[in-house]
Amino acid sequence: METTGETAAIGWGEQTSTTVITWRQIVWRRFRRHKMAMFGAIMLVLLVGYCFGGALFVSEEYANHTDTSLVLQPPSREHPFGTDTVGRDIMARTIYGGQVSVLIGLSAAIIEVVAGVLIGALAGYYGGLVDGILMRFTEAMFTIPQLFLLLVMAKFFAGKIPTVELLGRTFSGSVIVIVAIIGLTSWMYLARIVRADFLSLKEREFILAAHTIGTRNLAIIGRHILPNTMAPIIVAATLGVANAILSEAYISFLGLGVQQPTATWGNMLQTASSGFHKIQNAPWFWFFPGMLIVLTVMSINFLGDGLRDALDPTTVT
């Protein structure tokens, strides 16, 4: 990771082909060759299509519509994934639950990246006391297992944030809480990577040159160093989405996550597995949301692996 992406890659680009190709083209070419990454990308497109395209066919009212005469029906033509304990259609709920799960994953990853990059960059660039304080804080947060931190923070924020309207839909405040706490408990790893990159990059000649011509610190951080640490950040952000979806499932499963009637894959699983008779008699209830979580997380992991290989300037195409 010491070599800056562009110089190294262009060097290899010239070796392998007669025309000069850009860094982006190289990355794309490597990515395309990575079969699992392509598989992951296609699966993700399908899954997102399912969650957001499916909303065109079924309405949210239908997903939250209860029909007590149709409680725990097995999958049928009418309800392809069956119905739940209050007669709601599980397929419709996986569609809307998927939207929430995916949105939680994306927004939490954004918070994670912002926090991780900010803390890592400040600590790495300024060093000294700033570095000492920020890194002790990072270490402290790192020492407590994430799940415990999530549960304690979920408790801390519970009920403090009111319901919000966004994009014509109502989200219970618990969604915002979950996004915030997942983002705020997962940035530590990224912060360490970014700090390490900043530590080595700030000693390089081009940064010295930037200093000599009087570039401000913030411009050096944002315009000169940060673009050179993009590769690990992109990979961490991608895997962050997968981890956020899993984390949401974990806290929702433990009952401290997103509250009903807003569906997420996690809280669907929670209702489905509360009580052994449901696990025993209504497997469709927990199977479909669970499979969707597994498929989504797996596809994102594949994508992340592919990006890691494709963005790594030390691999030769």
Partner: protein, 344 residues
Amino acid sequence: MTRYIIRRLLQAIPLLFFISVILFVLMRSSSDPVATMGGRRVMRPEDRERLSRQLGLDQPLYVQYLYWLIGNDWTAIDVDGDGVAETPGTQRGVLRGEFGKSLVVRGEQAMDIIMERVPRTLLLMIPAEFVIILFSLVVGIFSALRQYSIADNVITAVSFVGYSMPIFFIALVSMYLFAVKFKEWGLPYLPTVGMFDPQMGKTPSQVMLHMVLPIFSIAFISIAGYSRYVRSQMLETMHQDYIRTARAKGLQESAVVFLHALKNASLPLVTIIGLDIPLLLAGAVVTETIFSWPGMGLLFIEHVSRGDVPVVMGILMLISVAVVLFQLLTDVTYAWLDPRIRYE
């Protein structure tokens, strides 16, 4: 080396202090333990006030933290609410090994409650860890030696699925398969919840039978991750020059693989496993919840929702100490295994 260990232990003190402050503030300002104490009856405001005062919950946060940390038997507290501190405190504080009395199970020391549960969690975690290490080595080495064979590809696919799975999903699937379906098919089936069948009593064989599914669920996910790691490490090591040398001097293949390659390949694994062991305790929260295993994780879930600060803080600090100690232990083991590493 001794100096290194001492220095690391000294560094751990401010770290643990920092952690305890963060957690205490989060826990104490988020919950109202008095809220559920009245049971179903609505509590009168004066009762509420009296209870808060007796439990010391009316004090400012930093005072509460101070009492939690160093106890309050050196000072007097105001119990009857007349503004005069007259009753000597009884709490001895964390630094003297007392986490305070539980706010949920009244009158019991938090540490006693936790310590009653810890062995049960360890009963799941220690065998699970053995299974995990054994199987990830076996599966990883097997995959590496047969790279790109059908078996390797199948293992790769399964481990990717396992790696992406939340632990409760594998738990649900295994419960459905091994308990529900096996029963339906007339096969011997496994029990799903609790530690033992109340009708059979708490016999060792009952407990062991109830351990199978939880351990399987924990192990499956971890093996999926670790075996990938073992595989890539083994592949890398098998291409080293000293492996070629070992083969060239006519050593048996098994000696090459297990003595020369595995020894070197397993070094990074020590780090990963060492750092992950305390996280297994965290994983216990979910596993114990779904299998109703009465261990520390379930205790945490039960008490965090009722704001039982002493018990919850006790569990969290216990785990933090475990993480710090295992980090140190991992570094020391690593240096011991790899003579190239020297700590000053």
